[in-house]
Symmetry: C2
Subunit: 336 residues, 2 copies
DNA sequence: TTGTATGCGTTATCAT
DNA sequence: ATGATAACGCATACAA
């Protein structure tokens, strides 16, 4: 029951292994009839070229590795699907690994993929600081990498980004225009650039309208965190008039707790979320939220990567910033 | 900038490649000093044994492949994380692929993993019928596979399952006991065994209490489907007193539409979901839902797989059925 | 304890 | 158009 190899096929047909190999690789001269015969009997015998051997020889696998910090929320899965769409189209297969938010795991994951000789990598970082010398080495060793979402500015690679500053500004502006004064920002994990940019946007909106800048509370991206923060606000009797959350999950969590304690959305607390987890539209009331083009992020990252792979070394690192959308829904509309 | 190989290290130290190899593989006799020296300089030179070459030789990769039909909902990601926990512990790395609900993609995915010489596979099927001869071949060729969640009974492999019948029965029973009469079941994708089992449980509960069996509507697992069904019910003025949905997503979708049209949950329509998407507890009102032990499913599948891998061929296929829980929340409690 | 030589399954170069 | 053979990087049986 062992694997059928090129030799078995060659022996069976009394030809050399090179002939069989040629039958499977169009680029060489081979008589049509022999080729057909070989292909036919190879199929009968259940022969499939062993990609491991091929990799060893050619250092090329037609596999692409994607590494993400987590995938319990739908953001990363959606990006991955986008990437997969263009990669599969071009004959590449996609190997996915998730780092469980840990930079040690992330590093191991990346190394496994490199060891497996993927032709390129698409990565969103678990931590922007911890692996950076490791990545620097990888980048100078010329393996194609495209970063997205969570990146390190300094890396000389292509990147796909979202304008967190702009959209945080828009989202906050929307709340201000609706007439809300006491706005609190539930910010994401502290050391991420995207968190800082969303905070800056939050701030800028206030300044634009000459308002005192609202409080910022760091609570990460999890639903439970949103719940805890809301609970604390209620206990301390410090419930703000409006909340701009850095993720839909925290927004939903907070909203849930507020409602449980008898507060109405948006009559008592207005809420705006971020990242559009496909859920925002389905809560009650539906939550206003910044939508990121997840699928497009994946597709763009994949295209940039393929460009680099195909131009084999000669390429200019590009940073593409994609556009989003503010979906305005009931949770933030000032009915008064 | 090319890869450092065993030869480079050997040359540098004026030893043979086999000595270097031995230094990296404990099982052979080698003088402690030479070993230490080799390991040290190898590290300095940035040498890492090439796993591709190793695979070619040993047909063993310490990689495990996991293939799931989708991962936008949190069910499969949570299972994967569970599996990963035990696999990484044992020194295995996990390669993930998602089939996008398509059996063609699934087949390609599995083949890529097999080609990459994974030591074993953990699979949840996209379709229970389409690839079955393919899998039969794979199974008889002795590659360790564990199926979970969506399986084919006949396959002679280990399986990890959930007792869908039992828990659908419990969930329906709960609604009946609460006094609800006109109960509709939003069933999942038609050709899946788990769908059939949940339907049977739904039926059995009615029979147990000598009630006429409620309607069954097939609508898959997506939130949008739940919304559409609910909308149709409202339009046709056929809104039931209670709904037992085969997924939390459809339950949430339906609930959202009902509420939008002025119906109260559970006063007008009671709702019970299935699969506990970590969301059920955070909607308003929170949704009663059958919780599957996702993490445990993953862990168990991984353990069964490792058992089989380590016992190299000699093993008895086991089917493990894990227990769930019915989380009763506001959406189904009869307040009257 | 260490070195030599072979093979894992391919592709590519050089003959024929 | 086809065959022989050398690599790819490594582990191991055998020799020294």
């Amino acid at each position: 029951m062992e694997h059928v190899t090129i030799k078995d096929v060659a022996k069976k047909l009394n030809v050399s292994v090179s002939t069989v190999s040629r039958a499977f690789n169009d680029k060489y001269d081979i008589r049509k009839e022999t080729k057909d015969l070989i292909l036919k009997t190879a199929k009968e015998m259940g022969y499939r070229p062993n990609p491991i051997a091929k990799k060893l020889l050619q250092k090329r696998s037609f596999n692409i590795g994607i590494v993400v910090p987590e995938f319990v929320n739908s953001f990363f899965p959606e990006v991955i699907i986008g990437a997969q769409e263009v990669l599969i189209e071009k004959g590449y297969q996609v190997l996915i690994m998730q780092s469980d938010q840990s930079w040690e795991t992330e590093r191991k994951n990346v190394q496994v993929l490199v060891d497996n000789m993927v032709d390129g990598l698409i990565i969103s970082l678990s931590s922007e600081s911890k692996n950076s010398t490791y990545y620097q080495k990888l980048i100078t060793s010329n393996i194609p990498i495209v970063f997205f979402n969570r990146v390190v500015e300094e890396f000389e690679t292509s990147k796909v980004l979202f304008d967190d500053y702009k959209w945080a500004l828009f989202a906050t502006e929307h709340l201000i225009i609706q007439g809300y004064k006491d706005i609190v920002h539930l910010a994401g994990t502290k050391n991420l650039t995207l968190t800082k940019n969303r905070m800056k946007g939050f701030e800028a909106a206030h300044k634009k309208y000459k308002q005192p800048v609202g409080r910022v509370i760091h609570c990460g991206f999890k639903m439970e965190a949103g719940e805890q923060v809301a609970l604390k606000m209620i206990e301390k009797n410090k419930v703000p008039r409006a909340i701009f959350a850095a993720s839909d999950a925290t927004a939903i969590g907070a909203m849930h707790v507020f409602k449980k304690h008898g507060l109405s959305i948006p009559e008592d607390v207005a809420i705006v979320g971020f990242s559009e987890s496909r859920l925002a539209a389905h809560t009650s009331p539906p939550i206003t939220s910044v939508e990121q083009p997840t699928n497009d992020i994946g597709q763009t990252a994949a295209k940039l990567l393929l460009e680099q792979i195909e131009n084999n070394g000669i390429f200019v690192p590009q940073t593409i910033i994609l556009n989003g959308r503010l979906n305005i829904r009931e949770s933030s509309i000032n009915i008064v």
